[in-house]
Symmetry: C2
Subunit: 608 residues, 2 copies
């Protein structure tokens, strides 16, 4: 039953050879890899204004130079990442670049922060999208957490179904959002040029503003640059592109950068020109849309696609997290399970872990994940800085053709990213200090995991040709709980393995019971030796283990092996299991993990 | 590590022979078994007034006749249950009485409603107690759910430590509460008699009230009788009493009834005389206490002990649920696991399930469990009615000495309980309809469980003396994942069982890999046959199962048994397990549950 539910949700398994069909063309890739970056224009400009309003509405003209600063940063990042794509066509982004050029630990810092960051992406975006929806339907407000969780589950299922399938579903909302904003900006600019929209009174650029400080401006810049989170996603996901993957990825990256630049500039300009004041109730984009279209269809279209893309922004996390996890897992820093492709050829374990982790975050923060945004932005700019720095080292070391130009681009990128990171720590320390604690912990865990894998590898590897001693014989212990067909079945099997070395063990809770059972046994199985053990504490495991220890100790002396055979009846239906004490499971686990004996289960299948 | 935490929380295991020491004397029994009933005087009188206020404060005098009605009901119930205690000295209360006299299904209705009811008791009482505490410290209000859950966990641990231990801890608050209310009532009556407290203007008894209807009065009566929930607890818990158990239980019951009567009457009288008007913010008891003592120490003492006893009322559920579960489990209507005594001789599974179920209820209702109260009251009065009716049948059938008197007592009890049940359905149908859906479902589940147990018993029982065919020989299949010490170890064991019938199976995901592996194998283990299987869908289980099926089919023809030996390395530390794919677990479970082969695990213990 479970497997048919799985089949229904995920789809039928795909052959490994179908991997090529699961690759993305540029249109689809743009949709699923840039939703995070594009969605941020819905809140990035607002973040700038929220900082400036602390000084006064007169300071709003600063949003224009700040936006230009963000655009420069964007351009630097896009050009740098374009170079990374060609230099590392197998993907891996910041982790691979930093590891290869700066060393293992910088790599792990980049990888670790991105790994956590993608989880934050999912939690933050889905919560934000849910907020947008429940703002429209206030009666749903108290179900925020549940709705957000349902969205995460839907995204998880969609991604488990496979990359192309999710791309097809997700492409429409992304392009609709882009279309909606293009119309908004186009009509807005047109109406302003034709004088149809009355230009509100806004301080002209250059007006001196009392109380403005560098600190405020830097803070506004940092807030604005949180709109750039997500631009690294494409460089992580190159293996998902159709061939030639690097070229396609680079083109997609440029397209995304251009879209982002146009939309960001447009929104900042309209907000400034229309003198929009950020408010707690209505978003900046919503105010602009209302000013230009009134409460018409277009207004609701813009609001609707915005809510949608906020949720879909989470999908960037789903695209990038599993691929980053594969890279870390291949290097043995996280569990190997992340490298396994699921039924639909996606890295299902990564997808599932991402979904679970973000659900936990959503529950832990009761759906109020907005406080995580600065943390999340820092978690992006740290790997930005590291990967650009890595590229600088690479160019200096390799000096390929035209390396001076490449070096310059990455140096600018590294410098700005570093400055932004510092600005975050300086202006928002109370919100981002956690990074300084979690990152070291994560890196220690990475190293411990790798150490364990290496230790296991060493122990499993066969280095000498020396054969191990053959086993001289087997002693079979069969714990029995009564005189039943299940026990009969197991004894029959035990005798077939080693006719003269079978010992049945009965654990009794009362002395009288013991005697009675011994008599019955003598009649039933006179040729099988029975040992009865009394348990004062009503535990079966303890006396049994003690007995097994004694037998095993003796057996080892003559190179005999001890096998414990557990009789077990298998009910016809799965739910029946909860009706039976699962002591056999406990006994099996206990003996297997604590003792050096073979544990065998002889199933007796019930027919009704 | 886990086991030492358990030891710390629960205490060291007790020998089965220590059972007698765990029995209760009357003082302790009264404390832990009557906390539910006694705590209800903290809200019962208020419930009456809340209904009457819908007509007007002039109607408050009706609380006196209604209270008299409740007292009559209480007396009838106490006398009836006293008879039940002597008639069924082994406990079981409503379930056993109804089953033995009215038949299985009435018994299950009584048992099922009580089972659910005890869960509701815990959830409702703990939530109410938590509310009382957070009302005093409003800053804690948003942590209501968490605090309630912590209380449930504490109660669960306390009960897992054992009956006497929990009784010692819980006795003080219960007696302090009784003491506090006695002082309140005593001082109150004294002050009224001496005229120290000015008698407020209250309508004298018999004043005609406009708008009063039978419906309202019945509703008020039903609300007031919800204060009687919990009186059946003693009759369920007779096995927990010291010998002579029935006599001690009967005396405890009478003591509880008397206390309850005095406290209930006292509170109703004071509320009427002082013209207390129920309000959403302050409880009736709190108003009375303030009127009499002002905001003095006594006021806070009364408030504190009231909050405490509301939480401890949950403990009645913990005393009665496991014992009722044992009775149902012995009759095979619920899983057998409920009959197992834990380390400290309590029925731990019942205690744990009760704790878990009530935590789930608390979370599901976000701590607002007050809407469950009517449901909970109905769930008590249904078994009240059934058990009294059962007693009627018993007396008529057996006609012991003085049976007419006994019959009369139980008939009155049955009649009043039945009327109260009907009143609940008539006046609060919107809150209690769920009973009509859940009870039938529960009863169907009970029957299905019993049917399953009987089917299993039939299949396990050895009825003929005909011996089963001995197994002719064994074929051993060893799935291998590589050339390692783990595999070497397992092959060595396999050869010791059946030197010539060992087949190693390798599942490859790529054709090339297959060839390479075969060559390596030939050099390493030339005498063990290797079968390689290719898996297109990256599943190990499917090709392996198919192969096992083929082998098993052939083997069965010549009465050979197939054993699958799973090589497994056991990491040194528990947490290491998450770093390794648990495919061996999956394979084992799959083969064991779906196929008729023996599954053996050969552990290879890692040393670092």
């Amino acid at each position: 039953m479970l497997s048919s539910i799985k089949r229904f949700l995920i789809g039928r398994p795909l052959k490994s050879t179908a991997l090529g069909d699961q690759k993305l063309n540029k249109t689809k890739a743009l949709a699923i890899l840039s939703s995070d970056a594009l969605s941020s224009v819905a809140y990035g400009p607002e973040q700038i204004l929220i900082v400036l309003i602390t000084v006064g509405a007169a300071a709003f003209w600063y949003s224009i130079p700040i936006a230009i600063g963000v655009l420069i940063l964007l351009m630097a990042l896009i050009l740098s990442y374009r170079q990374i794509i060609f230099a590392y066509p197998h993907g891996g982004g910041a982790y691979v670049v930093s590891k290869n050029n700066l060393g293992v630990n910088p790599g792990l810092i980049a990888g670790g922060s991105l790994l956590v960051d993608y989880i934050l992406t999912v939690a933050v975006s889905v919560s934000a999208g849910t907020d947008a929806i429940t703002s429209a339907f206030p009666s749903l407000h108290s179900y925020n957490v549940v709705i957000a969780i349902i969205f995460v589950i839907l995204l998880t299922i969609l991604n488990l179904r496979g990359v192309t399938e999710s791309a097809s579903v997700l492409a429409y909302p992304v392009y609709l959002f882009v279309l909606a904003l293009f119309i908004l900006i186009g009509v807005g600019v047109y109406k302003i040029l034709t004088g149809e929209v009355s230009p509100d009174l806004h301080a002209s650029i250059g007006t001196p503003v009392a109380g403005i400080s560098l600190f405020i401006l830097l803070r506004a810049f940092a807030s604005g640059s949180s709109a750039l989170t997500g631009v690294e996603a494409i460089s992580n996901a190159i293996p998902n592109f159709k061939n030639p993957a690097p070229n396609n990825a680079a083109k997609t990256l440029i397209a995304m950068g251009s879209l982002l630049a146009v939309l960001f500039t447009g929104i900042v300009f309209l907000a400034y020109y229309l003198s929009i004041v950020p408010s707690a109730e209505v978003t900046v984009v919503s105010q602009i849309a209302e000013e230009i279209f009134g409460r018409s269809f277009m207004y609701f279209f813009i609001q609707g696609t915005t809510a949608l893309i906020l949720i879909l922004a989470a999908n960037t996390g789903y695209s990038a997290f599993p691929l980053l996890a594969v890279n870390l897992a291949k290097d043995k820093f996280i569990p190997r399970a992340f490298t396994i492709r699921g039924d639909r050829l996606g890295y299902s374990n990564g997808i599932i872990i991402l979904g679970l982790a973000s659900i936990i975050l959503i529950i832990a923060f009761g759906g109020h994940t907005e406080n995580l945004i600065p943390l999340y932005a820092v978690g992006v700019f740290i790997p930005f800085t590291l990967s650009q720095t890595g590229m600088i080292v690479k160019w200096i070391r390799e000096k390929p053709k035209g390396w001076m130009m490449k070096l310059t681009i990455n140096s600018i990128g590294a410098l700005i990213s570093f400055i932004v990171t510092m600005i975050f720590f300086l202006t928002k320390f109370t919100q981002v200090w956690a990074v300084l604690i979690f990152l070291p912990i994560i890196i220690v865990i990475f190293h411990r995991i790798r150490k364990h894998y290496e230790a296991v590898g060493d122990q499993l590897r066969i280095t000498t040709c020396e054969p191990i001693l053959p086993i001289e014989g087997n002693i079979i212990i069969v714990p029995v709980a009564g005189i039943t067909h299940v026990v009969e079945n197991s004894l029959n099997y035990a005798k077939s393995l080693s006719a003269h070395q079978v010992i049945a063990v009965y654990v009794s809770f009362e002395r009288e019971d013991e005697k009675k059972f011994e008599e019955k046994w003598k009649k039933w199985q006179p040729d099988v030796r029975l040992v009865t053990l009394n348990s004062y504490y009503r535990s079966i495991i303890q006396p049994l283990t003690k007995f097994v220890d004694t037998v095993e100790h003796k057996a080892r002396e003559s190179n005999y092996k001890v096998t414990v055979i557990i009789p077990q009846f298998i009910p016809k239906k799965g739910w029946h299991n909860i009706l039976h004490n699962q002591s056999s499971l406990l006994i099996k686990a206990y003996l297997l993990y604590r003792r050096n004996v073979v544990v065998a289960t002889v199933p007796y299948h019930l027919k009704k």
